[in-house]
């Protein structure tokens, strides 16, 4: 063992650290390299990366296919928007509030839903999105119905004596990037923790996990709530970026987009979700200029995925990454 490792390293050089730094620099310099539209696309990709990260914990690691993510995204968007409009609270308060509200709503929804098996669970989560939209349309005194909630202020910060508001696209990009990095680190921590191992055990064989003392029901509920928290925080970013929230935030298209990010990127891999958000959201946003081509490109992407990358793009990324790292 110890004899072979150094020789492997000596064979090829490890370029992962310089490449990592390069990617980080590109991410930081993006607003100065790309056009405004590219930066806008990146922001949308980062906004959607949050619910996708949460969904990856649920689908990729725990093995529960859910379509409810857009519901929690919408709840987060409304929670942040309503709080900001009513009290003018700073952004971080709204974001935390949005995450907590989404997580809290997930508890009573998860308790009955998680008792259902596979397809019934999927159908049930689909219902949450539809119910969310119906409520946001009809609870007019709170949500202003179809008119939506407008005039949500741009993110405003209050750090001790310093207070400022982020107005430009560049500023918002850095905010989204910072939250995206934090969320990625949070997912990484969950996945690396012993709980992450239990989640994978549930995905691999729930009865076996149960027979080895893992309280699978509790874990599924916790992960369901955790995924909702990620979606809620993503929703708060969405609300503050667009400054408008309408019942259309609760749409199946968003849930499927989040699912495509996770499955297409590579379920159960953090790098897959990051790559998936950039590819599927960034690409569709960037292609908005040519509406006809847009859906065709999106469709082609899905076809390529289904036929050649059944496990998503992440295994390919990992192979390239390891090759850069000097492995065969």
């Amino acid at each position: 063992m110890s004899l072979t490792q150094p020789s492997e390293q000596a064979r090829r050089r490890d370029y992962r650290v310089p490449l990592g730094i390069l990617l980080f620099v590109v991410a930081l310099a993006a607003p100065f390299i790309g056009s405004r539209y590219v930066v806008h696309s990146l922001i949308i990709a980062l906004v959607f990366m949050l619910p996708a990260h949460g969904l990856n914990l649920l689908v990729g690691y725990t093995g529960l296919l859910s379509l409810a993510q857009a519901a929690f995204f919408g709840i987060g968007a409304y929670a942040a928007g309503l709080l900001a409009v009513a009290y003018g609270t700073p952004f971080y308060v709204n974001a935390v509030f949005a995450g907590l509200v989404a997580g809290a709503v997930a508890l009573p929804l998860g308790v009955p839903a998680l008792r259902l098996r596979s397809t019934s669970f999927v159908m049930c989560t689909l219902g949450f999105v539809i119910i969310g939209q119906a409520i946001s349309k009809n609870w007019i005194s709170l949500t202003r119905g179809d008119m939506g909630l407008s005039g949500i202020p741009k993110p405003y910060f209050e750090l001790g004596p310093l207070s400022f508001s982020i107005s430009g696209t560049t500023g918002f990009y850095y905010l989204a990037l910072a939250i995206g990095v934090l969320a990625t680190l949070a997912v990484w921590a969950v996945v690396r923790s012993p709980a992450g191992r239990n989640m994978v055990a549930i995905r691999e064989n729930e009865t076996l996990a149960e027979s080895l003392g893992v309280p699978t029901w509790h874990y599924k509920l916790i992960v369901f709530m955790l995924s909702a928290v990620f979606a809620g925080v993503g929703g708060s970013l969405y609300a503050h970026y667009l400054t408008v929230v309408s019942p259309l935030t609760f749409q199946m298209y968003y849930s499927t987009t989040m699912l495509i990010i996770v499955l297409g990127g590579g379920a159960g891999m953090i790098s897959g979700t990051i790559f998936g958000s950039l590819l599927f959201v960034g690409l569709t946003e960037a292609l908005r200029i040519t509406p006809e081509l847009r859906m065709i490109a999106y469709g082609l992407c899905l076809l390529v995925l289904v036929f050649w990358f059944k496990r998503g793009f992440a295994p390919v990324i990992n192979r390239v990454w390891n090759a850069i790292g000097g492995a065969k």
């Binding site: 969950v190 923790s193 012993p194 191992r197 691999e204 009865t207 027979s211 893992v214 509790h218």
Partner: protein
């Protein structure tokens, strides 16, 4: 005082599926340090009896007492975690995508961490607990003869090797009692020897008691001190293995007489 009580005491257990009485008023006990055998023809209710005793299924009536505590109605995971009574499944199951070492670490996790919340920790304390589990896993992997394949995904290994993984996994939490559902089914004689050795080692050195469902009569007579026979959901007879194989009622049950 409590040491005179049986480790597992099951009284008047019944379970029906529709009109079929799968288990009908069965009582039995397992003493501390004992290896008991449970035999009977196919469909005699052995597996249902296991399921009802370990929380996978809920018995219609009857009580299950483990180490002086009534555990009737507890869930499978709670009986494993708090009762330290573990079970295997007839069909060999492992976490196929995970390597052997990870399989064993998962088996020990819920016993090394005090609460669900604490399993979300990634700090030093959590890492220490995991490295403790890894050491124990290494010991058991060596004992099971799986050292060379410890980094292989469990799904890539042979049925017999997976049986050994399953078995080693159940030893991770320092169990009091293990219920084995046909541990020798479908594995080659070499692995059978290995499994027998491991059972005897766990029994003598680790103080684990066993209840074993097994069709291989040679194995039953060599490791069990007491055998219980089920037939059509009821207890037919129990006694020493050599007496059981001579028993006329048992022969009739097996031959369908």
């Amino acid at each position: 005082m409590t040491n005179h009580l049986p480790l597992l005491d099951i009284r008047n257990l019944s379970k029906s599926y529709g009109a079929v009485k799968a288990v009908n008023d069965v009582s039995m006990h397992i003493d501390r340090g004992e290896i008991a055998g449970l035999i009977g023809p196919n469909g005699s209710g052995k597996s249902t009896f296991f399921d009802c005793s370990t929380g996978l299924a809920r018995p219609d009536s009857g009580i299950v007492v483990l180490d002086g505590q009534d555990i009737t109605g507890w869930s499978l995971n709670r009986i494993a975690r708090e009762g330290r009574m573990l079970r295997s499944f007839q069909k060999t199951v492992t976490f196929r995508a995970l390597d052997v070492e990870e399989n064993l670490i998962i088996a020990g996790q819920m016993f090394a961490f005090p609460s669900i919340l604490s399993t979300f920790g990634v700090g030093k304390r959590s890492r220490q607990r995991i490295s403790g589990l890894r050491e124990r896993a290494h010991e058991l992997i060596r004992m099971a003869g799986l050292w060379d394949v410890r980094h292989q995904p469990a799904g890539n290994l042979s049925g017999g090797q997976q049986k050994l993984i399953q078995f080693a996994s159940m030893l991770m939490p320092e169990p009091k009692l293990i219920l084995l559902d046909e541990p020798m089914a479908g594995i080659n004689p070499k692995i059978i020897e290995r499994v027998v050795e491991t059972i005897l080692y766990a029994n003598k050195s680790l103080g684990v008691s066993f209840l074993v469902i097994e069709h291989n009569i040679d194995v039953v007579t060599s490791i069990c001190r007491r055998v219980i026979v089920l037939d059509q959901g009821t207890k037919l007879v129990e006694g020493l293995p050599q007496d059981i194989i001579q028993d006329q009622r048992v022969r009739e049950a097996y031959l369908g007489g």
